[in-house]
């Protein structure tokens, strides 16, 4: 799946194929290394490189909104979820076989939800609203606030 995510920008954009190939290939390689060596940082790096490949394609491509973005978002999340699931410590016995199925359904639902979220953002971006410094500032503030919320909820304390 990661290979498919890496190859699809090459099929859609042939101008910077060398750079896209480098980023996509590097991402797939990093994912492979992370899975083989059970190294989480390599997985994050691999998904990041695949994201960078998309960023380069979008930055060097036409200004129109890419309608396939929600599908890419779903695929990215699915690749990341399956990769981290592969790294989890294996339990030799599954007391309930339904747990694996339930986990898979949860992952697929999360990806579907991610797809919907991405679609809403693309739709919102396509609305005829004039930009400007104020809107950009609001965007920065929203991004910072989102990360602050995540950090706050994820605060680890030992009980």
């Amino acid at each position: 799946m990661a290979a498919g995510v890496a190859v699809s920008p090459l099929a859609r954009d042939s101008h910077d194929w060398a750079l896209l190939l480098l980023l996509g290939g590097g991402g797939v390689l990093a994912l492979g290394v992370g899975l083989a060596a059970r190294w989480g940082a390599a997985l994050a790096f691999g998904v990041g490189l695949l994201g960078a490949e998309q960023a380069v394609r979008l930055a060097r491509g036409p200004a129109e909104l890419d309608p396939w973005t929600p599908l890419y978002a779903c695929a990215f999340l699915l690749v990341a979820e399956l990769a981290w699931w592969s790294l989890e410590q294996r339990v030799p016995a599954w007391a309930e076989w339904g747990l694996a199925l339930r986990r898979l359904v949860t992952v697929l639902l999360a990806c579907a939800g991610g797809c919907v979220t991405a679609a809403l953002i693309v739709i919102a971006a396509g609305l005829p609203i004039q930009g400007g410094f104020g809107l950009e500032l609001a965007g920065v503030a929203a991004a910072t606030a989102a990360l602050a919320v995540v950090a706050g909820v994820a605060r680890t304390h030992v009980r």
Partner: protein
């Protein structure tokens, strides 16, 4: 219950942040759309995560078992909250092996009670504490991990599996109480000993009519009384030879348990002396209670490194009853145990030494010098055995794989041809 973030949480936060930043820098809202699912999953996952509240009750059946057999462990888990994924690991001490899958993965609803059964095989003898439970729970999206260790340990005594012995070593002297041993003296009993002429006072039932008819005068049967004996098992715990998880101490404990069970079955009184870095002793007694005391003492037998010189005079007098048979189980590696046994022989005890051979645990090296050293060591051991034999102490080398009965037969053969002399 400790809570910690998984690496996935940090990675997703990083990817979401990088995506949002890239969207702002490059001016492409699609990048924000790519980052949004990661951020959304973080917020939703962390909001849904709740600290599990778990408790457990553990039961072990039976609490005493023989080496090689299995025990059943029943675990009742209770959760007050919903747990999407719970890993349950039973942390077993060395010598115990779980035959059922361990760890196990579960899902618990709020208020649910779940029963788990574990079958644990007792691979090695000893006194173990079983029941340390490690619980690891995950939230539905694998962003947080909760860990808790429950100490529900229960004692489990695993006794060494003994051998079946056909014949035991007969002590030279017996005691005054009834038992199954045949002393050299004559008295009231069942076992035939001798014939003698009738004297006034002999019971009529003792008259041997066949001998009487042949001799023309009354002759009576004499019998051996049945007496018990005192047996002291002397366990050398100064040093051991160990290789591949087995040691001479394992064999010594195995032999000690076998001898204790068989001698007590013959109504003999059995005592135990663990002579080593730590002195441990049990005065000789009989009965099922004494048997369990001896076996429980054997479970505590281990090698404690000590350089202090120790002699048998440190032991209480009652530990070594006079005229008792002392069966020494020793690898003859430590000079202190060698001297102690010689001291016992000098004090007139009926001593037999079963040497738990350390030779299989110390193979010769590959170099010529190592081989020479090994041969010298074997010669020294032969000289030590000769020293004991000259003093009339039977020393039998018992190696792994050989039955204990064979060692006892060798001792019996030596005693048949040797005579105990006292100065």
């Amino acid at each position: 219950m400790t809570r910690a973030a998984t690496p996935k949480l940090g990675a997703y936060a990083g990817l979401a942040g990088a995506g949002l930043l890239a969207a702002l820098v490059l001016g492409r809202p699609e990048l924000a759309a790519l980052a949004a699912p990661f951020a959304t999953l973080l917020v939703v996952g962390l909001s849904l995560a709740e600290t599990p509240r778990l408790s457990a009750v553990l039961e072990l059946e039976p609490e005493r078992q023989v080496q090689g057999e299995a025990v059943e462990l029943e675990l009742e888990l209770r959760s007050e909250t919903r747990v999407s994924r719970l890993e349950v690991l039973l942390d077993l001490p060395e010598g115990l092996v779980a035959e059922t899958p361990n760890p196990q993965l579960l899902r618990l609803h709020a208020g649910e009670r779940r029963d788990l059964q574990h079958l644990i095989r007792c691979e090695r003898w000893g006194a173990h504490l079983v029941g340390e439970l490690v619980l690891r729970a995950h939230d539905p999206f694998g962003l947080l991990v909760f860990e808790q260790t429950l100490d529900l340990r229960r004692p489990l005594k695993v006794y060494p599996r003994g051998e079946v012995l056909q014949k035991l070593l007969r002590p030279l002297e017996t005691q005054a109480f009834a038992g199954n041993q045949l002393p050299r003296t004559k008295g009231e009993g069942i076992e035939f000993a001798d014939l003698r002429p009738f004297v006034p006072g002999d019971r009529v039932r003792r008259v041997n009519w066949r001998a009487t008819a042949r001799r023309g005068a009354p002759w009576v049967n004499e019998t051996h009384p049945e007496r018990n004996a005192d047996v002291v098992i002397f366990l050398d715990t100064f040093a051991e030879a160990r290789r591949h998880g087995e040691s001479t101490l394992d064999y010594a404990v195995h032999a000690a348990a076998t001898l204790a069970v068989h001698y007590m079955r013959e109504k003999d009184r059995v005592g135990l002396v663990a002579f080593g870095g730590v002195l441990n002793w049990l005065t000789a007694s009989s009965g099922i209670g004494q048997l369990y005391r001896v076996l429980d003492s054997l479970l505590d037998a281990e090698i404690f490194l000590s350089y202090a010189w120790k002699g048998v005079d440190l032991l209480p007098v009652r530990t070594l009853p006079p005229q008792s048979l002392v069966l020494a189980l020793t690898p003859l590696l430590d000079e202190r145990s060698v001297r102690a046994l010689l001291d016992l022989r000098a004090r007139g005890f009926d001593l037999a030494v079963i040497e738990i051979s350390p030779v299989p645990f110390a193979p010769p090296g590959t170099q010529e010098l190592d081989d020479l050293a090994h041969r010298l060591w074997l010669l020294r051991r032969d000289a030590l055995r000769s020293r004991y034999l000259r003093l009339g102490v039977p020393v039998v080398e018992w190696r792994e794989g050989a039955p204990l009965q064979a060692a006892l037969e060798e001792v019996r053969t030596f005693r048949r041809h040797a005579r105990v002399t006292r100065a």
